[in-house]
């Protein structure tokens, strides 16, 4: 990942930023003040929940690639108290702190 040094690296970042910006801006400008059908709105309301679950499931249940439901799966192990803290406290920061500290302790022990 060299080629052109710092300037080349920055150019790659700019390209990454551009391809990220397109899906961010297009619907906002094109759909501005146009009525979306209620069913479409309802569909879009499910997206945050769906995308979070879709993201997290492989990370927790198959962190190394293949499915791993054993006790050796530290991510799965740590995720249990993490989810419990999230549901109990409804605090994002407490959830992250407990999760990271639990992972740190578990790695120090194993």
């Amino acid at each position: 990942m060299t080629g052109g040094g710092g300037l080349g690296l920055f150019a790659v970042f700019l390209a990454m930023g551009a391809v990220t910006y397109v899906p961010r801006v297009l619907p906002l400008v094109l759909l501005a003040q146009r009525s979306l059908p209620p069913r479409v709105l309802r569909f879009l309301e499910f997206i945050p929940v769906a995308v979070l679950a879709a993201f997290v499931a492989p990370l927790v249940l198959a962190p190394a690639g293949p499915l791993d439901l054993s006790l050796g799966n530290l991510t799965l192990l740590v995720s249990m108290p993490t989810v419990a803290v999230a549901l109990k406290t409804r605090s994002l920061i407490l959830t992250v702190v407990v999760g990271v500290v639990a992972m740190m302790l578990l790695r120090l022990l194993t």
Binding site: M1, G3, L9, A11, V12, F13, L14, A15, M16, G17, V19, T20, P23, R24, V25, L26, L28, V29, L31, A32, S35, L36, P38, L41, R42, F43, L44, E45, F46, I47, P48, V49, A50, V51, L52, A53, A54, F55, V56, A57, L59, V60, A62, L67, T82, V83, A86, R90, L92, I93, T95, V96, V98, G99, V100, A102, M103, M104, R107, L108
Partner: protein
């Protein structure tokens, strides 16, 4: 997110069209402050996760300026973590850009969902707000507004700007601390992203339909992942689960 379950949201959604669309030409500092306050949970998440990104960036051999500038011009957490991993593996610029595009394609869905919740405003202002749409800032914006209300430019600019500033601060601090921390995996920083996703998910689960959609999305995504489908699987699982939520959620 308005907690509209099992039906009546159809009327709510369509009535959201009246009344609140007057354009505001000035940016009220009150609105910006309200947006900044609404960003606080995101800030508390972004500071440690940005820090983790910064630390991981140094372990991939990236200089501090590069770590911080990626947070300025790309500003997409998971894509930046993935980019750091790819750079440390010596990936080509083309594969970096292509992967970033795929990972960030989901912003299409956020941007579409945000559009009907915004007041009428100029294309320039929309273009400004679009640059800082993220998973978390979208969720906060969606939570901040009822089904019949609209979000103004000032509120959104305050929310988004505060969120990105905290991401920048976390990235910079992490990059500077990177050399001192040593092996970041030992300290569990890589888990911060998973913890944040789990926490956000737990906060979003407000009813049976949401739980169903989440379980469905997780299962489909895991299945596609195990079949070797890359990050496109996340987008596909999201769409499939949301469609099922729509169909299942409208049954009496």
């Amino acid at each position: 997110m308005p907690a509209c379950l099992l039906g009546p949201s159809v009327g709510e959604a369509s009535s959201g069209r009246r009344g609140f669309g007057r354009p505001h030409q000035t940016v009220s500092s009150h609105g910006v402050r309200a947006g900044a306050r609404a960003a606080l949970p995101v800030v508390l998440g972004y500071l440690p996760i940005g820090f983790a990104y910064g630390v991981l960036g140094t372990t991939a051999g990236l200089p501090v300026w590069a770590i911080v500038s990626m947070s300025v011009v790309v500003y997409a957490g998971s894509a930046q973590f993935i980019a750091v991993a790819l750079i440390s593996q010596g990936a080509s610029p083309a594969s970096l850009v292509a992967t970033t595009f795929l990972v960030n394609l989901r912003h299409l869905l956020y941007s579409s969902a945000l559009s009907p919740r915004l007041e009428r405003m100029s294309a320039g202002r929309l273009a400004w707000l679009a640059a800082e749409i993220t998973d978390e800032s979208f969720v906060m914006a969606a939570r901040a507004v009822g089904p019949q209300e609209r979000l103004g430019f000032a509120f959104m600019a305050g929310l988004n700007g505060t969120a990105q500033l905290s991401w920048l601060a976390g990235s910079a601090a992490g990059a500077l601390a990177g050399a001192l921390v040593g092996d970041p995996l030992r300290f569990g920083f890589d888990y911060a992203l998973v913890a944040m996703f789990l926490g956000l998910l737990a906060l979003q689960l407000r009813g049976r339909t949401e739980a169903f959609v989440a379980a469905m999305a997780g299962t489909v995504s895991l299945g596609l992942h195990l079949l070797g489908v890359g990050t496109v699987g996340v987008v596909a699982a999201t769409v499939v689960a949301s469609v099922f939520g729509l169909v299942w959620g409208e049954r009496p």
